[in-house]
């Protein structure tokens, strides 16, 4: 099923709608998302973007924090490898996330809830795909309650 149609039919009131936080770089993905807007590409309204200068700025703790604060999914997106506005920032980001992945497993966060992608400034279409695909995936996984339960339990 295509995500676009899913959003046109309003979901049942009590259906689970995931909250997704996107950490994106200012130069590529943010601009790509702007392009999606200018091109009026309809997509799932579940994603909230936080703008950063570069994926290199993204601390894995942001992701953990987002989940702790009730996000059900996270997108991390920046320039294509080799295209980084800052030469190598996204390269370091990738290295860091290779490690972060393991930590997240350790913290009990299902890696399927996190999408890493490259979206360039000209890939508005790709951005909408990333948004829709992630939303659909996280919706299937259901709400992320691990942390909420923890907080509630303590």
């Amino acid at each position: 099923m295509s995500e676009a149609t899913a959003t046109r039919t309003p979901p049942a009131v009590d259906a689970f709608e995931p909250k997704i936080i996107a950490f994106v770089c200012n130069w590529c993905t943010y601009t790509g998302a702007d392009l999606a807007g200018t091109s009026r590409l309809q997509m799932a309204p579940n994603v909230r973007i936080i703008r950063l200068p570069c994926t290199g700025r993204i601390d894995p703790l942001f992701i953990v924090k987002a989940f702790e604060r009730g996000a059900d999914g996270v997108i991390v997106s920046g320039c294509h490898p080799g295209d980084c506005h800052y030469t190598a920032g996204n390269f370091h980001a990738r290295r860091r996330f290779a490690v972060a992945r393991e930590i997240m497993g350790f913290l009990g966060i299902d890696l399927d809830r996190v999408t890493f992608s490259w979206v360039s400034a000209s890939e508005g279409g790709k951005w909408s795909e990333v948004v829709n695909e992630t939303t659909a995936r996280v919706r299937k996984l259901g709400p992320f309650n691990t942390y909420r339960d923890l907080v509630a339990g303590s």
């Binding site: 309204p45 604060r69 980001a93």
Partner: protein
């Protein structure tokens, strides 16, 4: 206590159609710290901006959030408005509820909810924003140009004519680069020397150009506006103050059989030499590798051998004891213009992963030459005085076969790209040849003819239609000696027939490659280069002469294969960038740069390792007695570009990117 104002924009119908702006404004009004929240039809209009200014003054706002379009659209506008009302512009930010919300959703309720979320993020962030002051750095208004081919010369002249001083560094004994070797030039067939030499002399005599030939960049420190460059002036063994260029030393030198680099190996030179008669400066240099005296010295012989040049020189300009000198200069901008070299047809390749042309004899067939050698043969100032003679026996070749794309467009040899110039100069060569040898046959094996410049295709057509060049579409498989001829095994893909022919001479258009050593120079300057070694421009379309290091520009064939018109256009563009930079005494920079907390930094220097710009420096912290306590990181704000990689890497959270601090971002996340 924060006093934030929120301004929600309808953008006419653009936002208002899907987002209930009034509801957003109302919701925002209830966020802690928000003291003012309104919606309006067009925020960016004059009345809209006025509202913001007034609210800042009347309500004493400490921060402004405009929920409207993308900050890429209007951040500057609103920050200016805030500044006009006396608020630090960095305390004003935008929430993007148009591109990222109203335009991409249809469900009004959910779009409105999202708009509220997005605005809340920014409100929380802005609450923690600090006033920032744009960084200003003084500009050293002198430029360095590296490489004095046509590109470097042009850039130097333009900058100098614009009123600024230039240091022009050339590693060879003379300026001029490859253009000085060319015979006549496409697309007009004017004589290369005739148009170049005046430029060379002009550069030499220009009061604001400091020429440093036989010199190379040793190291570079600093950042845009404030570079300190150290240049190695190689020992010439001739005192350039005393020498008057009479040439007596050259006539006296007994070592006469050194293949001349200028003549692409076809002519000979002496051990003390000027590369060519029109060289600038016209001051010889001793080739210490070849000079018998220096050879003897290296072998440890005490006795001073030869020295004929010394005796011949009436001005006592020869100085065998001269040593390399290191000179440091302060400059504010740099133009990278080191040009190209040709792919070697021999087995030995300048770059490791490349392979030579075994099927074409690895350069062992004497009558197989490259394009530059043909230029020298055709040049009136060349070793044959402009007569086309083949190297093996000096006969005038009756049939010349030209091969295009040798080494270019050839992933197997390690080069994928098209060298861009060769289609044109091969067409030129066929013309030059046919003009000189009227009965001769000029056969070109090509794959495509790429002649996309002004007057270029007409030029190629002329070679075919007027000058009788025969074009055969197909790559040649093999060359080998057949008697005193060269057998060419080709295939005509248009007629579908194998085509074998004997040539008296074969000219190969070998690939254009960056100069050897370009990688290490680029690393010294921290500019990036592609896998072939060409310097990367900052943006292929919009920043074609900038590199990704601020203050360093690129021109000519070191960026990609470039012909003379391109090289000159780039050079002038780079020069105008430099002059633009120099039109300010000080530079203003976005203050979103990193800052190290001296108290917590442990000096692990992880930040230094990840910083793509080398912005992290070492700072020695001493007590009052001057004893070293610790060495910590310090970000040079002139160099830092604000990527934030250091911050995400720092294990002790000691470095913060202003404008994107952890406090700001966590606040946004926490508001979820």
């Amino acid at each position: 206590m924060a006093r934030i104002g929120v301004f929600v924009c309808h953008c006419g119908e653009n936002i208002g159609r899907t987002v209930d702006c009034a509801q957003v404004a109302e919701a925002c009004g209830s966020f802690p710290g928000v003291v003012h929240s309104v919606d309006y039809k067009y925020m960016c209009s004059d009345p809209g901006q006025l509202q913001i200014k007034e609210a800042i003054k009347e309500k004493g706002l400490t921060g402004v959030v405009v929920a409207a379009c993308s900050p890429h659209m209007h951040e500057k506008t609103f920050r200016k408005a805030a500044a006009a009302a006396g608020l630090n512009p960095f305390l004003c930010e935008m929430a993007n509820i148009r591109e990222h919300c109203s335009w991409i959703h249809e469900d009004r309720a959910r779009a409105t909810a999202k708009a509220i979320d997005l605005t809340r993020f920014i409100v929380e962030k802005v609450k923690r924003n600090q006033p920032l002051v744009p960084i200003s750095i003084p500009v050293e208004r002198r430029a360095l140009v590296i490489g004095a081919g046509i590109a470097g010369i042009q850039a130097a002249l333009d900058i100098a004519d614009g009123g600024r001083e230039v240091i022009l560094v050339e590693k060879e004994p003379s300026i001029g680069g490859h253009m000085s070797q060319l015979s006549e030039t496409f697309p007009t067939l004017d004589c290369s020397q005739c148009i170049l030499t005046p430029r060379m002399v002009e550069a030499f005599q220009h009061p604001r150009i400091k020429l440093m030939t036989y010199s190379e960049v040793e190291s570079l420190e600093g950042y845009i506006g404030n570079f300190a460059v150290t240049i190695r002036k190689k020992a010439r063994s001739v005192d350039d103050e005393l020498c008057n260029g009479c040439g007596d030393c050259q006539s006296a030198c007994p070592v006469k059989k050194i293949p001349s680099e200028f003549d692409a190996g076809l002519g000979k030179r002496t051990a003390i030499y000027v590369p060519f008669p029109q060289a600038v400066p016209n001051i010889p240099v001793i080739d210490r590798e070849r000079c018998t005296r220096f050879k003897a010295m290296r072998k440890g012989k005490k006795k001073e051998v030869c020295g004929r040049c010394l005796k011949a020189c009436g001005r006592e300009a020869i100085d065998f004891a001269q040593e390399d000198r290191l000179i440091t200069e302060k400059v504010g901008a740099i133009v990278f213009a080191t040009g190209y070299q040709l792919y070697s047809i021999g087995e030995e390749q300048p770059r490791e992963h490349l392979s030579g042309y075994g099927e074409y004899g690895y350069g062992e067939i004497p009558d197989v030459i490259d394009g530059m050698q043909f230029e020298r043969l055709a040049s009136a100032s060349g070793p044959t005085g402009g007569r086309i003679e083949r190297p093996s026996d000096g006969k005038e070749p009756e049939t010349v076969v030209f091969l295009q794309c040798v080494g270019s467009r050839d992933p197997q040899k390690g080069i994928d790209y098209c060298s861009k110039l060769c289609c044109m100069y091969i067409a030129k060569h066929t013309m030059l040849y046919r003009h000189k040898v009227h009965h001769g046959r000029a056969v070109v094996f090509y794959m495509d003819v790429r002649a996309g410049g002004k007057g270029y295709d007409e030029f190629v057509r002329r070679a075919v239609e007027e000058d009788g060049a025969e074009y055969v579409r197909g790559r040649v498989s093999r060359l080998y000696r057949a008697g005193d001829k060269v057998r060419v095994c080709g295939f005509d893909t248009l007629s579908g027939e194998p085509l074998e022919m004997d040539a008296d001479m074969v000219v190969m258009a070998t690939a254009i490659q960056p100069q050897p050593g370009i990688e290490s120079l680029a690393q010294k300057l921290s500019v990036s280069y592609d896998k072939s070694g060409f310097i990367n421009e900052a943006h292929p379309k919009l920043k074609p002469v900038e590199t990704n290091t601020a203050g360093i520009y690129v021109a000519g064939a070191c960026q990609a294969p470039r012909d003379i018109p391109d090289a000159v256009a780039m050079a002038s563009a780079a020069a105008s960038k430099v002059l633009g930079l120099f039109s300010n005494e000080e530079l203003e920079r976005d203050p979103c740069v990193a800052q190290v907390d001296e108290t917590t930094c442990s000096g692990c220097f992880h930040c230094e390792r990840v910083c793509p710009y080398g912005a992290v420096e070492h700072l020695e912290v001493r007590d009052r007695g001057g004893n070293l306590i610790k060495v910590i990181a310090k970000v040079n704000q002139g160099v830092c570009q604000g990527c934030g990689t250091c911050q995400a890497t720092c294990p002790s959270k000691s470095v913060e990117l202003l404008g994107f601090t952890d406090a700001q971002i966590f606040a946004a996340i926490n508001s979820l």
